[in-house]
Amino acid sequence: MALFIVRRVLMIVPILLGLLLLTFGMLRLAPGDPAAAIAGDNATPEQIAAIREDLGLNRHLIVQFADYAWNAAQGDFGVSAYSNRAVGLDIAQRLPATLELTFAALVIAAVGGIVIGALTGAWYNSSFDHFVRVVTVLGLATASFWFAIMLQLVFALDLGLLPLRGRLPAGMEVPPDTTGFLLLDSLIAGRLDAFGATLSHLALPAVTIAFGGLATVARFTRSSVIEAMHSEYAAYETAVGYPRRRVLFPFALKNALVTPVTQVGLLFGAFVSNAVAVEAVFDWPGLGSYLVQAIFAADYTAVLAVTLVIGFVYGVVNIVVDVVHGLLDPRVAERM
């Protein structure tokens, strides 16, 4: 099992290399000569050549790639041609907000989906099951920006239970920035008030992002719980005297978790792209608005740096999913 985990973790190396190659290639394939663009319309060929020399663009491609990878590893993704700021700094400032939001959504989708799926699977065709089925179809069919606005209308404006926008109430002192994740930072600083405020600010946007994914996870869990409860081993477990609740939990459920756990890994990608729209609605200071801005400004450096970072996190999430998969089913760990 330890060997399996090490092997899975090492998978990050090829993933990272592939990502770097992809983003590097896209940077180089971008139309136009970056040196000419920087030099401006009235530059002489000598000036352009000087800039090219300056940027290291006439070195061998492999050297350039190694340079790019080395810098990226240190969080240096270059300077945005649009804002003239270091892209790495911009991302470092905004990424934690987006990750905190998507991870919160992932937890809601995974835990909520698995619990609801297990209950509807154990009591399938009950009225609760039918009710959930209707809701999950809605979850899959609802556009997230519309759902976000509905949640705001009901929970923030009508009922006044939850805040409308932002990460913290205006005027609250922000806990010292250690990780960029407000939940962690407020715990580290011992600021329970900030922790609670962050949670209540997270609730609506995270639920918005999670809704569709929760529906997917619930449906996958439901059908695999039904399958596991009708399996030969469940029949055997009943015949030798396991109480039904034990046949269900943990014995059937652990088998049934393999599919939905895989789903959770895949959902992360969808959640990040969902976050772009949802962040705009909730005025969330994450990567979403930054990315939109960068795309409109054709700011390749920024777009590709975000791609690289999100891709990396996506890889890590799915490696974690693989490890969980192996922990759930020993046969998986032996095969890989």
Binding site: S231, E232, Y233, A235, Y236, E237, T238, A239, V240, G241, Y242, P243, R246, F251, K254, N255, L328, D329, P330, R331
Partner: protein
């Protein structure tokens, strides 16, 4: 004479379904005593597995007891609420050995965890069934499992408990399932075709093991099979079932030497180990939804007479310990 440990008398069970009522068991008669192995043979669909399910209270919802009784130590368990059968009978008073050692294990738990769960709900002597055991009880339970794995000849039982089902061969898995059935030291073992999924050599070993264990643990063993050969090796007495009815019972050697019911004769003629030409039985077991009237075997029987299609023949006591439900059977 004291009563046998397990007695099934005139058992009749009907299942109501969308397509009509199915009389899945219709006059089943059987007794098994301590230290005795009784076989139930018949083709697929004859109600052998249904009989085991009925004893363990595992019939599908909609199954209804029309008549007869299932007595365990004199108590009629056929009329007990399911929950009570689950608590008192399954795993505790009666161990169960399933048919398929490849599908019956939960693949994601160690065999020790799964055997422990059987013990947990059937209770160690002096231990109430509960979710959490003290470290002391846990150790005692583990010792019991190791001892039981030794009895079924699993090498290195200490480590075997911490391994997963897929790490064992089919024969070893079947031994572990047998150990699971014995873990709570039940008084009866119900085995549902436990050798069918195994190769011939392994079958022999498992049959021999079951034979030895029945004596060693002094249990009443009910062994269901479609294979007369396996029954011949293992069972003291045999009961032949056809379409939900018991058609012949008697000591195994006698029945095999001279089967008296036409179905028993036909079934034996199908067995490849027997001398002489191999024969099949024409036709197939009728649907339990619309069973033929009278003797259910009459449409396939070469010796049927007109009365066979109208009246179910009574059991005739032919020779010592033998009962045959056929109009041709002659009383001793």
């Amino acid at each position: 004479m004291s009563r046998p440990l397990l007695e099934v008398r005139n058992l009749r069970i009907r299942v109501r379904g969308d397509e009509g009522d199915a009389h899945i068991l219709d006059f089943v008669d059987l007794t098994v005593d301590r230290g005795e192995v009784v076989g139930v043979v018949g083709e697929s669909g004859c109600g052998k597995s249904t009989l085991l399910k009925a004893v363990l209270g595992l019939l599908p919802r909609g199954a209804e007891l029309l008549d007869g009784e299932i007595r365990f130590k004199g108590e009629d368990i056929a009329r007990l609420p399911r929950a009570e059968i689950a608590r008192r009978i399954r795993g505790r008073a009666m161990g169960f050995v399933p048919q398929d050692p490849f599908q019956s294990f939960n693949p994601v738990f160690t065999v020790g965890r799964q055997m422990m769960e059987i013990l947990r709900w059937s209770g160690l002597p002096g231990e109430p069934a509960r979710l959490r055991w003290s470290a002391d009880t846990q150790a005692r339970a583990r010792a019991r499992l190791i001892e039981t794995l030794k009895a079924v000849q699993i090498p290195d039982p200490e480590h075997a408990l911490d391994r997963y089902p897929h790490q064992f061969s089919g024969g070893q898995r079947q031994r572990i399932l047998i150990a699971g059935a014995l873990a709570a030291r039940p008084e009866a073992i119900l085995a549902d075709e436990p050798t069918t999924a195994l190769d011939v050599t392994t079958q022999m070993q498992i049959l021999r093991l079951l034979r030895e264990l029945a004596r060693e643990f002094d249990v009443a063993m009910l062994f269901v099979s479609h294979d007369f050969g396996a029954v011949a090796q293992l069972c003291d007495r045999v009961s032949v079932m056809y379409a939900g009815q018991t058609v012949e019972t008697g000591p195994t050697t006698d029945v095999i030497a001279a089967p008296q019911h036409p179905y028993a004769r036909a079934l034996l003629a199908c067995h490849p180990d027997r001398d002489g030409p191999l024969e099949g039985i024409r036709g197939q077991v009728g649907s339990p939804l619309a069973p033929p009237p009278g003797c259910r075997f009459h449409p396939r029987c070469g010796e049927a007479e007109s009365v066979c299609s109208t009246a179910r023949p009574d059991y005739v006591h032919t020779t010592a310990g033998r009962h045959v439900a056929c109009i041709h059977a002659r009383p001793a």
